[in-house]
């Protein structure tokens, strides 16, 4: 990742690499015109954009080759098949777009009609995008924060579930509180739930060296079962319901909608504030400097007197808490009740979001809106065209591949390599 500033800040702690030719004298940043910064920012967007393009292209191929009717046509009428394939893909992606952003025509006419009902309907898709982006920002931040410390948090999904459980319990247990006390308590409970679930892999990693990837994945499975069990206990299960579903949270613990009648809620503000908080933590605080130093070069960090164990535990607790917040936001801002499998994989999407956002808070927010749009558009797309929702997962996987292998994207689009090609490796085997 071409994160120049990070390289420079940590240059001093970096052990001199073996005789690599990378040591072309660093160009003094200040001397270069500010126009150059725009250029480099554009460059930062270029690769993700191309990765996305490539992923959608491969996704289109998958849509075409899994359509038996189309495949038959290729044999009899290849020219017609090209046309039919094109229109099939366009129909699918068009439905995806309409489901996530809305119909541009309808948006415009609604804006000028000043008809409340039309406006609400036109902005419905955008509101859905915000609804999906809210947890994605938080899980993306969770994964990104752990990445910065050199940890791969695949457990955001489980942390999200634990957070939602804690939040919903806090939401229905306290009765008769004013909202400005109750809501923060419920949200904080969500953070706490996720933090507990992040604490376990953090502690195990720090104390015993157990690899966080395995532990967090196992904890995901444990959390699904834990939720299923909890939802059947007398304390949590809604009265008179045979199926696993929780009681409904008190109105005072509900995150209110941004605009009445739309589903987008103030959770997005919580998510954005969290992004600012993570940015401050990582780039403006001493602890964050330690985090990044540990992630960048643990040996040097230890030599500088920083505690790797402490950074590991603390970062995993925070990462878990962020994912827990995502669960709280989904439940308290949405249905107000918990049922198993409510998350369509927000925790796993968070990994894509963190990678596409280059583990920077601003990038994470941008990527979360992008993938939030993808998620929001998927359901209407399936309804309209019959293309299964899961194509979104495939596209996300492909985005990960293209983002993680920038050389691949450069090869496809024939872009020259950048000056500094930092191939970062944080997989340090299972033991350390």
């Amino acid at each position: 990742m071409a994160d120049e500033s990070r390289h420079q800040e940590l240059e001093t702690t970096e052990a001199p690499a073996s005789a690599e030719p990378a040591a072309s004298p660093p160009v003094p940043e200040a001397a270069e015109a500010s126009g150059n910064r725009v250029l480099s920012a554009l460059r930062g967007i270029l690769l993700p954009a191309l990765a996305l393009l490539a992923a959608f292209a491969v996704g289109a191929i998958i849509i075409i080759v899994t359509d038996f009717d189309l495949l038959g046509q290729w044999g009899s009428d290849p020219i017609g098949a090209i046309g039919a394939s094109w229109s099939s893909v366009m129909r699918t992606y068009g439905a995806l777009l309409r489901g996530s952003i809305g119909d541009p025509g309808a948006l415009f006419s609604a804006l000028f009609s000043a008809d409340w009902e039309a406006l609400r309907r036109a902005f419905g898709p955008l509101s859905e995008t915000i609804v999906s982006a809210t947890p994605l920002i938080l899980t993306g931040l969770s994964v990104a924060l752990a990445f910065r410390v050199g940890l791969f948090n695949i457990g955001a999904e489980g942390q999200l579930y634990l957070g939602s459980l804690f939040a919903v319990i806090a939401g229905f247990t306290f009765v008769g509180m004013p909202w400005f006390i109750h809501l923060p308590i419920a949200v904080a409970a969500g953070f706490l739930g996720g933090a507990v679930w992040g604490f376990i892999p953090g502690l195990l990693k720090a104390r015993t060296g157990a690899h966080e990837v395995i532990v967090t994945i196992m904890l995901n499975f444990v959390s699904y079962n834990l939720i299923n069990w909890a939802l059947k206990t007398e304390f949590v299960q809604r009265e008179g319901r045979p199926d696993p579903i929780s009681k409904i949270v008190e109105p005072s613990a509900v995150i209110p909608p941004l605009i009445d009648g739309l589903r987008a809620h103030w959770g997005i503000v919580i998510a954005l504030l969290a992004a600012v908080g993570v940015w401050w933590l990582l780039f403006r605080s001493t602890k964050g400097f330690e985090f990044r130093a540990v992630g960048f070069n643990p040996r040097a960090a230890r030599y500088a007197g920083m505690s790797i164990s402490w950074a590991t535990v603390l970062s995993m607790v925070t990462a878990g808490g962020l994912a827990g917040l995502a669960g709280a936001a989904v439940i308290l801002g949405g249905s107000g009740t918990l049922s198993p499998g409510f998350s369509p994989g927000y925790g796993f999407d968070g990994i894509v979001v963190a990678l596409v956002g280059a583990t920077r808070p601003l990038g994470v927010v941008a990527a979360a809106f992008l993938f939030g749009a993808l998620r929001a558009g998927a359901t209407p797309m399936q309804a309209a065209t019959g293309t299964p929702i899961d194509i979104v997962v495939v596209i996300q996987a492909l985005v990960i591949m293209f983002i993680a292998a920038p050389a691949l994207v450069r090869a496809i689009f024939r872009i020259r390599a950048e000056r500094r090609m930092g191939s970062e490796v944080f997989a340090k085997g299972w033991g350390s």
Partner: protein, 425 residues
């Protein structure tokens, strides 16, 4: 100078070891107390547990093993308490692992006696299920051993298992031939592994991210294809013929051991064969020496003329084929039809088994048996009527994995160059 003559000072590592030993001792003691309370006091004094050792149809019948429930629990608890006391005071030195195994065995047996109190439980059936449940895990561990001994971390085993399960079901149904399905699963596993290898070796993508990418790609694709193809063409594409069990003559008639080991389908025998071949290959042939050299110190291997990239590519692809074969077990070797996400983390558990088994094929298999046992207990207990919610039983394999990884990873040693890309100068 008046410095006192230094008493034998323990190094930091020794102190840590000592603390660990003591903690272990305390854990044993607590375990013993727990066993007395949970498995001893809670059952009536005259209840007895009966373990069936042979099926009624077996040619050589053994009588059931009947033990008094509470007394057995007290006895086993006493054994554990004794081990704890010794561990706390003297320590077992290098034999601590054996003792740990014994304690675990005592605990599990006490647990089973408690479960079977007042009723009968088929022990042989439990062990048979154990072997079956451990098959995909063992295949996964074997795949991991092949990849990681060559220095490539493969967390894509999960995805390879899932793809093998999917493809074998579809191909076996479409051509009405389970063997073709098996072959297709091997091929698709190898193909995904080739993708992983290109990303990890050629493009030097972080190996964990590359593996994760394959996992969600496969999860997404198989889910997408099941909606798109398997649902409309359920009869044509998702009703594979299953490979039935083959009883090996004579061997399968041995009591207990026969049904447990020699009355399975071809996957189990293939697994046994592969374990032996890969173990011998890795540790007793020139090929194996090269592979291990590449995994430990690629530069040195390169210097003496070993083609590091070739070894890594070929091993990862072989590993993928093994995992693909293991995936086929889920469908044509066991349940028949494909269901989305049917592997449910078995690939990751296979990785844990590989670590637990010390990056060694036989060790990996034995570790897989432990996980398989946890899984089998879980499935058996849900049939018996006991007072544990089924959700907690379902957690057992995952929790055991966490405990094992946390307890042993610090002591196990991975190949030195595991997960590190190699750049030829």
């Amino acid at each position: 100078m008046t410095a006192a003559p230094a008493a034998p000072v323990m190094t930091r590592a020794e102190r840590r070891l000592r603390t660990r030993q003591r903690i272990l001792g305390v854990v044993y003691l607590l375990l013993a107390v727990g066993m007395v309370l949970a498995f001893g006091v809670s059952v009536g004094g005259d209840a007895s547990s009966s373990f069936g050792l042979t099926a009624p149809t077996a040619p050589i019948a053994l009588p059931n093993l009947v033990v008094p429930s509470a007394t057995t629990a007290y006895l086993l608890a006493a054994v554990v308490a004794f081990a704890g006391a010794v561990q706390l005071t003297r320590g077992f030195g290098t034999r601590w692992a054996v003792v740990l195994g014994l304690v675990a065995f005592a605990f599990v047996f006490a647990f089973l006696t408690w479960v079977a109190a007042g009723q009968s439980m088929n022990l042989t059936g439990l062990l048979e299920t154990t072997v079956q449940r451990s098959v995909p895990i063992a295949f996964g561990a074997l795949s991991g051993v092949l990849c990681e001994r060559a220095g490539v971390v493969n967390i894509a085993i999960e995805g390879m298992l899932l793809s093998g399960a999917f493809v074998s079901a579809v191909v076996a149904s479409a051509f009405d031939n389970p063997w073709l399905g098996m072959l297709a699963a091997i091929l698709v596993g190898g193909l995904l592994a080739a993708l992983l290898a290109v990303l990890a070796i050629r493009y030097r993508v972080d190996q964990i991210i590359a593996g994760f990418f394959i996992n969600i790609l496969v999860a997404g694709l198989t889910a997408f294809l099941s909606v798109r193809l398997l649902q409309p063409y359920q009869n044509e594409l998702n009703t594979p013929e299953r490979l039935g069990p083959i009883a090996i003559p004579f061997l399968s008639d041995i009591p207990v051991l026969g049904p447990v080991l020699f009355r399975h389908n071809i996957f189990v025998y293939l697994l046994f064969g592969l374990i032996i071949v890969i173990h011998l290959g890795l540790f007793y042939t020139r090929w194996g020496l090269r592979v291990r050299a590449v995994g430990e110190h690629p530069k040195a291997a390169d210097t003496v003329g070993v083609n590091v990239y070739w070894v890594r590519y070929s091993n990862v692809i072989m590993g993928g084929m093994v995992a693909g074969l293991g995936g086929a077990f889920f469908t044509i070797g066991s349940t028949g039809g494909f269901e989305r996400e049917m592997t449910a983390g078995r690939g990751y558990i296979g990785l844990a088994a590989m670590i637990f088994g010390g990056w060694n094929p036989i060790g990996g298999f034995l570790a897989a048996l432990v996980f398989g046992f946890a899984d089998a207990i879980q499935s058996r207990l849900s049939i018996l009527s006991i007072a544990i919610p089924s959700e907690f039983l379902l957690m057992v394999p995952y929790v055991v994995t966490i405990i094992v990884v946390a307890g042993l990873v610090g002591r196990a040693r991975a190949p030195a160059a595991d997960g590190k890309p190699y750049v030829k100068e």
